[in-house]
Amino acid sequence: MSEYAVESRARERFPLGWWGVAMLIATETALFGMMVGSYIYLRLKAPVWPPRGIPEPKLVVPLILLGVLLVSTLPMWRATQSATPKRWLLLALVLQAGYFAMEVQLYHDDLQHFTPQQHAYGSLYYTLLGADHGHVAVGLLLNLWLLWKLLHGMTRYRRNALRAIAFYWYAVAVLTVIVTLTVLSPAFAR
């Protein structure tokens, strides 16, 4: 028979999976930091930004969408606190999916006005936004997977996954604030 003699001085606040996501967020933050740094670097070297022939970014719709994404972190947080997280997770998913669909539409609309092949401005604009939208898409897939798992009940593994994925979403929200403000900055500076 097995024997335990566990001397437990403290309950752990964060599971190992949470720490794994913390490492992912650390390295992804550095990744976005480098991209935003590249944007600032090329912007400071350019006489006109965006260059002539490329419209300045519009402010209103992207800022409203940013607000929607930020609001979606509240039901994510509630899901981590709740004994019945499914409905909170579903609410977050609806907000996030709405955000994503609108952003993809905006991305598509922008491509009608200027392309990444036109100028380094466009290259950075679409790469930054594309990388950010990619992270949102991954988050959506994670939430879908988690919801599907939770349909079969709650386990310790799923509770840990929920906390880790919620942490991922908080980070994505912060990164999206940074990316959005960066790509909208020419309109602010007007």
Binding site: A5, R11, S38, T127
Partner: protein, 621 residues
């Protein structure tokens, strides 16, 4: 009800037994097996990088030689640099040494994420296959290991060579990131009870520093690679001056990664030195906390010095002076460590066995390489010798002398632990002396020939400029070095076959790996020990705090003081990591040839593999 020691060990043997045969190795999640896989794979790449070096040295032994043409020579020096940095030193230190030793040294039974650990190895293997498949197809990277734009832009390099560079490095970086994340969480969360940070071995401090460096430095390279790939294949303009880009952007991003990378290469070697020195001088390390801080500081300062690689590019003087001053700060933590190693040896009772000889050789070569590094702080001097063999001499003293010598010393030091056999001492010492002489003969004349003006990366040179005799000496040194390496491995192979049994602790080493059998069992520790100092094996029998034998279990500790917080189930062998790595490698290979639609389909398979990976959940206990 209690169990006897024998019953407990029998139980653990059954619970942790690995699947036999080749399938067992392909699906393993055991950190020791993954460490050995890393070891053997990196040795293959080391051999390839060594052959490339010897080909270059053979070509340059005399003036006006044409053993290989300029295109092949371009690929040789590019792939040699990439291989030695990304496919030998980093994976040998973090992948092989880190994987095998860090969990044992902190008192854990495995890495924090065993399947992710296997994934990192198989992605690493895939990245190496991609690089050398490109080389075999005549499309090896050919714009130098730092791949400056515009030379690497499609206009000047229209083949697929640079796609092999960008995508094999991106895959390799993914593997390194996974290993680093795993090492950091293992060090933070799986330490034995009582192992607060001030009791953690300096080896683990060094690997923590290197892993943190990789986590924050590699993204800069990844962004650079992504930008270049998009520019070359989809017509973006990040580095294209005519369309608002800047070729400086490549250099800034590359060196923001590249300089921390140099310290990431050597800090694990510092960690190896700080294990070997106490074991063979029979004294604790001097200035233990200062060394730990210095190991972290070296990497931290490394993030603020990148532009010293760009002194000859026309940056403003203020920038140059700032980066020269910032670079000079690296001297402080480096010197602290050199003094601590030297004084620990001088004030101890040293036994100059093979591992310690390699560490003494390392200190000598690190000081020489460090002093020439300080010379580069003088901006006019740097501008004079930029792109000459003086630079090659400097960084080979650092990378070969300071990073690889401790790796060799570490191979000898932990050989008894990994194999259960003692190595033959006299041939070991002979291998050190051959390598020490060969390496200095190979690299020292490069200082002189560099000062005489010989540029790097030339595939041949005229006979009337006074470089020939130095080049001949270097080539002789290269072959002596190769003989030394072959002799070293021959000794280890013969020792494995005929060496005497080592027992658990042949050196009376200070850290936890010397408290368990050689080779270690799958579960590492039958009972998890309590740690009361940084030298637990010198403290006598440690009290047992946890007897985990109710399954595939691992304790998780609190960050600051290492007290047990919870017990978790660890995954068993799994086929998903190798499947995921294989599909990911195929996806990247398709991107090399710009088959975007097929790559997108394979990416869906990658996603499905991830779903399969997570279908089975650990059982609730």
């Amino acid at each position: 009800m209690t169990t006897t020691v024998t019953e407990r060990v029998d139980l653990l043997e059954r619970q942790w037994a690995e699947r036999p045969g080749v399938l067992g190795w392909l699906t393993t999640t055991d950190h020791k097996r993954i460490g050995l896989l890393y070891f053997w794979a990196t040795l293959v790449f080391f051999g390839a990088g060594g052959v490339e070096a010897l080909l270059m040295r053979t070509q340059l032994a005399q003036a006006n030689q044409h053993i290989v043409g300029p295109e092949t020579f371009d690929q040789l020096f590019t792939v040699h640099g990439m291989t030695m940095i990304f496919w030998f030193i980093i994976p040998m230190t973090t992948g092989a040494f880190g994987n095998y030793l860090v969990p044992i040294m902190v008192g854990a039974r495995d890495m924090a994420f065993p399947r992710m650990n296997a994934l990192s190895f198989w992605i690493f293997a895939g990245s190496g296959i991609l690089l050398y498949a490109g080389m075999a197809a005549g499309a090896g990277p050919d714009a130098g290991w730092f791949n400056y734009v515009p030379l690497s832009a499609r206009l000047f390099d229209p083949g697929r060579n640079i796609e092999i560079y960008t995508l094999s490095l991106a895959l390799n970086g993914m593997a390194s990131t996974l290993t680093s994340a795993n090492l950091i969480v293992t060090i933070f969360k799986l330490r034995a009870p009582g192992m607060s940070f001030n009791r953690m071995p300096l080896f683990c401090w060094a690997f923590l520093a290197a892993s943190l460096g990789l986590i924050f430095a590699l993204p800069s390279l990844t962004v650079d690679l992504l930008f270049l790939y998009l520019q070359r294949n989809l017509g973006f303009h990040f580095f294209d001056v005519a369309h608002g880009g800047s070729s400086f952007l490549w250099q800034h991003l590359f060196w923001f990664f590249g300089h921390p990378e140099v310290y990431i290469l050597i800090v694990p070697a510092f960690g190896i030195a700080t294990e070997i020195i106490p074991a063979f001088t029979r004294r604790k390390m001097l200035a233990f906390p200062l060394i730990a801080i210095a190991e972290i500081l070296v990497v931290f300062i490394g993030f603020g010095v990148w532009a010293h690689h760009m002194f000859a590019t026309g940056l403003p003087s203020t920038t140059l002076v700032f980066f020269a001053a910032a670079t000079s700060m690296v001297v402080i933590p480096s010197t602290i460590q050199v003094f601590a190693w030297s004084m620990s040896i001088l004030t101890g009772r040293p036994r100059f066995t093979t591992p310690l000889l390699f560490i003494v050789g390392f200190i000598v070569m690190f000081v020489v390489g460090g002093l020439t590094g300080v010379m580069f702080l003088a901006i006019p001097f740097d501008q004079q010798v930029t792109d000459t063999y003086f630079v090659i001499a400097h960084f080979h003293y650092i990378i070969f002398g300071a990073a690889v010598f401790p790796i060799f010393g570490g191979m000898y030091y932990w050989f008894p632990k990994v194999t259960g056999k003692l190595y033959f001492e006299r041939p070991g010492q002979i291998s050190f002396w051959i390598l020490f002489v060969g390496t200095n003969l190979l690299f020292f004349p490069m200082h002189i020939v560099g000062l005489l003006g010989m540029p790097r990366r030339v595939y041949t040179y005229p006979g009337n400029v006074g470089w020939t005799s130095y080049n001949l000496l270097e080539t002789v040194g290269g072959y002596i070095t190769a003989i030394g390496i072959l002799f070293l491995f021959a000794n280890l192979v013969v020792s494995y076959l005929r060496g005497a049994p080592a027992g658990p602790d042949p050196w009376h080493g200070p850290t936890l790996e010397w408290t368990i059998p050689s080779p270690p069992p799958e579960y590492n520790f039958a009972t998890i020990p309590t740690v009361t100092s940084a030298y637990p094996n010198w403290d006598g029998d440690a009290p047992v705090s946890i007897a985990l034998d109710a399954g595939h279990k691992q304790h998780v500790s609190t960050i600051s003081d290492g007290w047990t917080a919870e017990i978790v189930d660890m995954p068993h062998a799994s086929p998903w990591p190798i499947l995921l790595a294989a599909t990911l490698t195929i996806c990247f290979a398709l991107l090399v040839v710009a088959k975007f639609m097929v790559a997108a389909i394979v990416l869906v398979v990658v996603g499905l593999t991830l779903v399969g990976w997570h279908m089975k959940e650990p059982q609730e206990s």
